[in-house]
């Protein structure tokens, strides 16, 4: 599900509704059957899908049909177990990664530097909703995805799955996504006075802005590594 996996396959190729990679030798009939029934229920609302045989199924729907997709998959296809609901921010981090100096620009040699690359099933927007539903009888799961429009507002799933309430509150405070019709859109984890949306990629880590990562000064070679280097130097000398 990470962006690194997503960039393996071109996003445009995955965005088609019929799966070109299903001609490949490993087939997954259960997930293909589930995908076909999703397409039969939702029709044009399905704008992308991806199957990893024996592993998982992704279906991207239009954001207008987000609620309809949840209801159809729950009530008509038997995926009654709501696993989770969350948001992905596909923006490349402007602060680099890991232990980089946060004030330096990230090193990205690719020509489309800074471009947003969505993962499986493609996409058009920086933020994407995703929700995972499971059919406990057939033991098969589907990850529903939808683009979040620039208004950063999505319809709520609370009346489809009551358990989506807290997940949407978390998505609201971490990513700043609004949920129309949510009964109680307060912070769930953050302190009340917290400002900003910490799971967005452009949320600055202020601690690192003020002071470099102190753990990096402790880097020292493992004992064996240094010995081997010394041995090699002695042997060559």
């Amino acid at each position: 599900m990470s962006s690194a996996e997503g960039t393996d396959a071109p996003a445009e190729a995955d965005a088609s509704t019929d799966e070109p990679e299903q001609e490949a030798p490993p087939r997954d009939e259960r997930r293909e059957a589930l995908l076909e029934s999703v397409q039969a229920e939702l029709g044009d609302a399905v704008v992308g899908s991806h199957i990893r045989p024996g592993d998982d199924l992704w279906v991207r729907v239009t954001n207008e049909s987000w609620v309809a997709a949840g209801e159809a998959v729950k009530h008509k296809l038997g995926c009654t177990y709501f696993d989770f609901l969350s948001v992905i921010d596909w923006l490349p981090s402007p602060y680099g990664k890991g232990e980089d100096d946060p004030s330096a620009p990230p090193e990205d040699p690719s020509p489309d530097k800074g471009a947003i690359k969505q993962g499986y099933t493609g996409g058009d927007t920086r933020f994407q909703m995703l929700a995972r539903l499971t059919d406990l009888r057939r033991h098969v799961s589907v990850t529903l995805k939808a683009d979040v429009p620039d208004t950063l507002s999505m319809p709520t799933w609370v009346h489809v799955f009551a358990g989506a309430n807290w997940h949407e509150r978390e998505a609201h405070e971490m990513f700043g996504i609004g949920f129309d019709g949510h009964p109680d859109l307060r912070h769930i984890y953050l302190p009340g006075e917290f400002e900003g949306y910490p799971m967005r990629k452009d949320f600055p880590l202020l601690s690192r802005m003020v002071k470099p990562w102190p753990g990096i000064v402790d880097v020292e070679p493992m004992p064996g590594v240094e010995d081997e280097a010394d041995d090699a130097a002695e042997a060559s000398a």
Binding site: Y189, L190, P198, L205, S207, R208, W213, P214, G215
Partner: protein, 158 residues
């Protein structure tokens, strides 16, 4: 206060310390091993890990990651404890933020909220390390001038 009486008082206090456990993360597992297992047997040191509220505790072990959201609860816990009261900060997270030092939600050390008497380093520290921290706290209590403490003078540790 006569020195011999101070010594008696301090010896009594240091071998009857009720400890409140404030376990916040994985350090609490090590604290549980130190306080609740016969292997380490903390009660041989005169530490009693059974207060039912902070109001009956002599010191508290803050073990684990202190978040900004938990901060008001820790300040309130400290205010509820009766004087004389002590704090042991256990583990890297409680000492300075630890591996979550740059997180948006983690307090950079519990000493930003309440005064800390003993820092136990480690991630997480072994139970033996916590026991050594308790011994250091007992040494500090033994050397306190309790009369000065009651008068409100600064604590003298010799």
């Amino acid at each position: 206060m006569p020195a011999s009486l101070t010594k008696l008082l301090n010896t009594s206090r240091k071998y009857s310390m009720w400890v409140y456990q404030w376990g916040l993360a994985c350090c609490a597992i090590e604290m549980g091993a130190a306080f609740a297992s016969p292997r380490y047997d903390v009660m041989r040191l005169g530490v009693i890990p059974f207060p039912s509220s902070p109001r009956q505790a002599d010191f508290v072990v803050i073990s684990g990651t202190v978040t900004d959201k938990m901060a008001p609860a820790i300040v309130r816990l400290y205010q509820q404890m009766p004087d004389p009261k002590y704090v042991i900060s256990m583990g890297s997270c409680a000492n300075c933020g630890g591996p979550y030092w740059d997180s948006y939600s983690v307090t950079k050390g519990v000493d930003q909220l309440i005064p800390v008497d003993v820092y136990v380093p480690g991630c997480p520290p072994r139970p033996e390390a916590l026991l050594e921290g308790i011994l250091l706290l007992q040494e500090k209590i033994q050397n306190e001038d309790i009369g000065a403490r009651w008068r409100g003078d600064p604590i003298v540790v010799s």
